[in-house]
Amino acid sequence: AQSVTQLDSHVSVSEGTPVLLRCNYSSSYSPSLFWYVQHPNKGLQLLLKYTSAATLVKGINGFEAEFKKSETSFHLTKPSAHMSDAAEYFCVAPWRTGRRALTFGSGTRLQVQP
């Protein structure tokens, strides 16, 4: 089974500073990868997805992620944090080859300080 590891359970940044949320994946091939966001008391929303078309993927709300095969990483970044970015972020990969389910990382809670 594939897996994703989110390296930080909690990240705190100041408003206006860059955001980096780290994710490593384990796979013998280049998988599809996703980031989902969950705002407090809200449902999960797709932020962006990588499907091998381009290594730098742009998502909603100014977020982007870069797929680095050599490092097996798919880190999420944003140049300037906004208070509304405070949420939990999940790195996601296909669960198993040939299966349509997804496997989720343990999540990173992003806190944005004024």
Binding site: G43, R100, A101
Partner: protein, 112 residues
């Protein structure tokens, strides 16, 4: 607006009860999924279905079963609820293309 609807937002059940969690989607999606979400553990896959009357076990199927009699409805069944099944349960659906899950708003189940 496309939707995945979970029948209950909050549910409190007693240990040993049989519990049904219902999920309905209106997008004609083939695939439907049940996850539970616990702090620090992310979402863990319980069961999923890629067609009517078809089901497949996920990572933590023990203590659960599912039913998919119609394409739009996917039910999660706790055969005999236990306190360690207290959790947030999330239903999702997707088309045949990878990714693009649509999630329901979740059911917070407390087993006492």
């Amino acid at each position: 607006d496309v939707k995945v609807t979970q029948s209950s937002r909050y549910l409190v059940k007693r240990t040993g009860e049989k519990v049904f969690l219902e999920c309905v989607q209106d997008m004609d999606h083939e695939n439907m999924f049940w996850y539970r979400q616990d702090p620090g553990l992310g979402l863990r896959l319980i069961y999923f279905s890629y067609d009517v009357k078809m089901k497949e076990k996920g990572d933590i199927p023990e203590g659960y079963s599912v039913s998919r009699e119609k394409k739009e409805r996917f039910s999660l069944i706790l055969e005999s609820a236990s306190t360690n099944q207290t959790s947030m349960y999330l239903c999702a659906s997707s088309s045949k293309q990878p990714g693009g899950y649509t999630f329901g708003s979740g059911t917070r189940l407390t087993v006492v």
